[in-house]
């Protein structure tokens, strides 16, 4: 398509959505800090006042980004990436520990979290790596390289003990998927998630049984009937025998291991038939899924008990409804749900909230700022925020697909994916759908680092978008 101009103007729709989110976010930070006893506005120690300053700086950054040439971001992607990796290492050594995470630089009155900057840098580096000529996820080395770019900062942030910020890097899988990574990995990840969750809820033996049954069901509908029947008869005999041994030997091993010999036999039997008769070529794939799930189920408990910290375990337990502790670990979510729920259809009115005042809800202007929205603006307001985010995400996807250069497209997806992760986890956590992971809601949560990080992330893309018809090299 011939274009009249290579330089189109900035995407005003996105700018509009950004502005709405920032303004609405600030109004809610004001409300979360509003003291009905003593309503003062001009108090430089108050979060809403500081946030106003951060917003001012953000605008300055936006200006700086827009006058910078797009090529700069491509050229400097790796340098910028290297610089933030350095910062992450330095903060690990000399940083200040806040809330158990050693992830802050403190210079005088200013505190700064390099993890926020590293999101932008990593996204740039990923875009650079994936846009390299001849890059393909089908090539193993390319897959490793791309993964390394993501995993390196993630690991460093994990070492800072900032699990929440580290988890964000998982969303690059969405970008990878869009750029050609096989869908199996996504599917596999999904199944892994479901199995892991289930292992915590129901006994392992039941899960193994369920997994086995569903694989049997699938194979049955795929047309494996006669061989499956034979295998099951023999499998049943083996199961019976091993159960008998289990009972009479007074063994102390877990019940689920009784299932293993039978499943093992059936698997080998089916596999040998598939290979020798060269029929049902899909069987090995399903057996792989079956065994992965079994191993996952058997190791999930270990992971859960020995790898996760106590509070993480408790939070997950509470989320899954295993533990009920409305004043302890479940306190945050419980209070948060009460605050949001009390908003009703139309909310209590601006500054009229009672639950998000007096520190009922913890972190009420940072991680739990959405509670204020829910309480004071009700279902209307909270839905509006969800819709605003969806609009922003879809707009970003739309713009990304319009990019002529791979770099811009990949970067755009990265931005959308990161926003999506924050949106999903943060709001999900306040309404009790995801575990409590302390990550901010973009543009809403109080804090200079996060606001600047997200602004930078977004406006670099909007700058790239002004050159969407060019091949930026």
């Amino acid at each position: 398509m011939p274009n009249r101009s290579y330089n189109k103007s900035i995407d005003w729709i996105t700018v509009g959505l950004y502005s709405l989110l920032v303004i609405f976010g600030w109004l809610n930070i004001y409300a979360a800090n509003f003291n009905p006893e003593n309503p003062v506005f001009f108090d430089t120690s108050k979060e809403y006042f500081k946030q106003l300053v951060w917003i001012g700086f953000s605008l300055l950054f936006v200006g700086m980004i827009l006058i910078t040439d797009s090529k700069f971001y491509v050229e400097f992607a790796y340098i910028f990436y290297g610089f933030t990796i350095l910062l992450l290492v330095v903060v690990l050594l000399f940083g200040k520990e806040i809330n158990g995470a050693k992830s802050w630089f403190e210079i005088g009155p200013i505190r700064f979290q390099p993890a926020e900057l590293s999101k932008v840098a990593t996204n740039l580096a990923v875009a650079r790596a994936l846009s390299r000529y001849g890059f393909s996820f089908k090539k193993f080395t390319d897959l490793v390289k791309a993964s390394a770019v993501v995993l390196f900062p993630m690991l460093l942030i994990l070492l800072q003990n900032d699990t929440g910020s580290a988890l964000v890097y998982f969303v690059f899988i969405i970008v990878f998927y869009r750029e050609g990574l096989t869908g199996y990995i996504l599917t596999f990840g999904l199944i892994a998630g479901i199995v892991t969750t289930l292992t915590l809820l129901i006994p392992n033996s039941t899960i193994l049984g369920l997994i086995a049954l569903s694989i049997i069901g699938i194979l049955y509908f795929k047309g494996v009937r006669k061989d499956l029947f034979k295998a099951l008869v023999i499998g049943g005999v083996i199961l019976g025998a091993s159960y008998a041994v289990y009972e009479y030997s007074n063994s102390t091993i877990d019940l689920e291991y009784v299932l293993i010999p039978a499943i093992l036999f059936v698997s080998i039997y089916l596999l040998s038939i598939s290979i020798s008769k060269r029929i049902h070529k899909f069987i090995p794939t399903y057996l792989l899924i079956l065994w992965s799930a079994i191993i996952l189920a058997l190791t999930a408990d270990y992971f859960f008990e020995d790898v996760l910290s106590h509070y993480q375990r408790t939070r997950i337990n509470v989320l899954l409804g295993i533990e009920e502790d409305p004043l302890g670990a479940g306190y945050n979510v419980n209070q948060s749900k009460i605050a949001i729920g009390s908003g009703g259809l139309t909310g209590k009115g601006y500054l009229q909230g009672t639950q998000t005042k007096f520190n009922f809800v913890p972190e009420q202007s940072t991680d739990f700022i959405y509670c204020t929205v829910g309480e004071e603006w009700g279902f209307m307001g909270s839905t509006a925020v969800v819709l605003l985010f969806l609009a922003l995400l879809l707009r970003l996807l739309y713009l990304s697909d319009k990019q002529h250069s791979t770099f811009s497209r990949v970067y755009g997806y990265g931005v959308a994916a990161i926003f999506f992760f924050h949106f999903a986890i943060n709001i999900g956590m306040t309404i009790g759908l995801s575990p409590v992971i302390g990550i901010p809601l973009p543009f809403f949560s109080y804090g200079g680092s996060s606001l600047w990080g997200f602004t930078l992330l977004l406006f670099v893309f909007l700058k790239l978008d002004t050159n969407r018809n060019e091949l930026i090299r």
Partner: protein, 618 residues
């Protein structure tokens, strides 16, 4: 490519899908499921102030004087109130509907004037009895926004020493603004030691955050109590007061107006501080205070006035000791100086009367017999001393001595409402007499009359100073504060700059005033076996009968007690002042009244009624 990439569509679908899940969940939370709305109403954090118990007060012998008793206040959080059954409410609290309505009107007024907050609890009704508390607590679930908070009131173990102990009452608005520690409805010490030692006695309030359900019931600590702070109990204090002596003094002063102050000369510790008429401190506890206070306040005899520190009187003849000391120090008087007295002092048409006694007499005799004429000569010698250029200069020298003795300024005891009395300076007379005055003009100062006012505390301090032969320690009532030190200024020795040898003739004169032969003014004060020294005083009073005054200390060589007694309209010093003072001294030093004669004096003092007799006359 054409159109949108399939994978992009899938990603978009996941995003939109999650968005929809959120919206559905929000709909359930906010619109469909009412549980959370109830939870929010019920989910109120209540801030319960933990009131510390106020420090206890003991007397010098470790007897408990003031303790605490528990009472319960009904608290209200105005914005949490929902309509309730007001009849039921009133019945359980013994209120009339009108009173309740009045309370609500007042509450609204307080909210409008920002005295109380709609968010925070404030006192709705004060001091329930234990039974009311029990009944109300049962019904509390019906009255949202109300709850009961316990706190403590003072309990007085003796019906005595009200002026010393002072009282505790609700904080005034002025104080509230000054000190951020307090909040509306808090109790503070208003007078006496309760006021002076408020900081020590009050302790430190704590706060407990409770989660409260929809019925106002407490559901446990907010966030496991991590924000709670415990109340720290107030410090116990020990007073130098001897409660037995105090009670005895109050008994002796019954039906009289005036005061007794007894101090331990070596330490400045106040042993007794009586102001008559007095009242039972229990009258001013809690709710009763609002009923009794106006009665006491409007009583014509002013029982709330602490005469021992707040009334300034002419010291009368007790002051002759002071003039003598100044004269000796200035050299205008020698112990052997004699003057003649012809029943008074007469000069240039002015006369100061005297009574019958031997003449001529020396310094010691002049104290013994309290000769007025002697001191007229004596003061004139001081003021007309050629060493000084004019009367102004010499008068100010005289005045400076007085200030050193503790007159004219507040002594700085631990009573905040102590008055300073009055000592004139030369400027004062310059103004009054337009600079034309002489030693003769101010001659009444020689016998402790005229433009001179002292408090009974200052008079007792004068006794202590003479007992110490020239120095005193600021009189004070505090003896010990638990886990802390009493103010250093109470250990400081105040020198009067009178040389020690000048005290012998004065002390001897005071001894003879009690123990001498004919002409001695205070023979009634004789205590068998105790070398008490004293000086009577009779102060003229333009409003009625003379005031009866006695200033004494005992024993002579190792003084344990110095005392001043001031009985308004009691006539001669020997009539009320001397016997009462001697009984106090005897009681303190021997713990009993020994001989039948002394007991007869005691009976006469106890029966003496200067108040009702006066009323009969009118």
């Amino acid at each position: 490519m054409g159109g949108i990439n399939n994978r992009t569509l899938l990603i978009a679908a996941i995003m939109v899908g999650l968005g929809l899940i959120f919206i559905v969940k929000l709909f359930i939370l906010q619109v469909h499921d009412p549980t959370y709305k109830f939870s929010a109403v019920s989910n109120t954090r209540r801030q319960v102030t933990q009131y510390p118990s106020r420090g206890l007060v003991y007397d010098r012998n470790g007897k408990l004087l003031v303790s605490n008793q528990a009472v319960y206040d009904v608290m209200v959080v105005p914005r949490d109130i929902v309509p309730f059954d007001s009849i039921d409410f009133c019945e359980s609290l013994d209120l009339s509907i009108e009173q309740l309505r009045e309370r609500f009107v007042q509450m609204r007024k307080d909210i409008r004037s920002r005295k109380i907050s709609t968010y925070k609890p404030s006192v709705f009704l004060k001091q329930l009895s234990a039974e009311q508390y029990g009944e109300f607590q049962e019904k509390l679930y019906k009255f949202k926004g109300f709850f009961v908070q316990g706190r403590t009131l003072r309990k007085y173990e003796y019906p005595s020493a009200a002026h010393v102990l002072g009282y505790v009452g609700e904080i005034s608005e002025g104080q509230l603004k000054k000190d951020a520690y307090y909040s509306q409805g808090d109790y503070v010490g208003i007078s006496g030691i309760e006021q002076t030692y408020e900081q020590e006695l009050r302790g430190k309030k704590g706060v407990k955050y409770m989660l409260v359900d929809v019925h106002g019931r407490e559901k446990g600590a907010f966030r496991g109590g991590e924000h709670d702070t415990a109340a720290i109990a107030g410090k116990n204090i020990t007073l130098s007061l001897d409660i037995e002596l105090q009670q005895y003094g109050e008994l002796l002063m019954q039906n009289k107006i005036g005061s007794i102050v007894a101090v331990e000369p070596s330490s400045g510790e106040i042993l007794a501080l009586v102001s008559a008429p007095n009242y039972d401190p229990s009258l001013l506890i809690g709710r009763d205070r609002s009923r009794n206070f106006p009665v006491l306040l409007t009583d014509s005899l002013k029982p709330l006035l602490n005469r021992a520190i707040q009334s300034a009187y002419p010291p009368g003849s007790t002051f002759k000791t002071i003039n003598a000391l100044i004269g000796l120090q200035e050299g205008t008087l020698k112990p052997y100086t004699t003057h003649e007295c012809f029943m008074g002092y007469f000069a240039r048409g002015l006369s100061v009367g005297c009574h019958l006694h031997d003449s001529p007499l020396n310094l010691t005799q002049s104290i013994q017999c309290s000769c007025n004429a002697y001191y007229c000569y004596e003061l004139r010698n001081i003021l007309d001393n050629p060493k000084y250029e004019n009367i102004q200069e010499s008068f100010n020298v005289w005045k400076d001595y007085l200030v050193k003795f503790g007159f004219g300024y507040r002594l700085g005891s631990d009573f905040r409402n102590e008055v300073r009395g009055f000592v004139p300076n030369a400027d004062y007379f310059d103004k009054v007499y337009k600079k034309s005055w002489s030693s003769l003009t101010v001659i009444s100062l020689s016998i402790g009359q005229g433009e001179l006012l002292t408090t009974p505390l200052q008079m007792a301090n004068m006794g202590a100073m003479i007992a110490n032969r020239g120095h005193f320690l600021t009189p004070h009532i505090i003896k010990d504060i638990e886990d802390s030190e009493i103010d250093e200024r109470f250990a400081e020795i105040h020198e009067t700059d009178i040389d020690i040898q000048h005290f012998a003739p004065i002390v001897n004169g005071m001894e003879l005033a009690v123990w001498g032969g004919a002409g001695s003014t205070a023979r009634i004060a004789q205590i068998p076996g105790i070398s008490i020294c004293g000086k009577t005083g009779t102060a003229q009073n333009p409003h009625g009968d003379d005031h009866s005054i006695f200033m004494a200390f005992a024993p002579k060589d190792d003084p344990k007690i110095a005392i001043a007694v001031y009985v308004e309209n009691g006539g001669f010093g020997a009539r009320w002042g001397a016997p009462i003072a001697s009984l106090m001294v005897e009681k303190y030093l021997t713990d009993s009244i020994s001989t039948p004669y002394r007991q007869w004096i005691e009976k006469r003092m106890l029966e003496g009624d200067l108040i009702n007799a006066e009323q009969k006359l009118q």
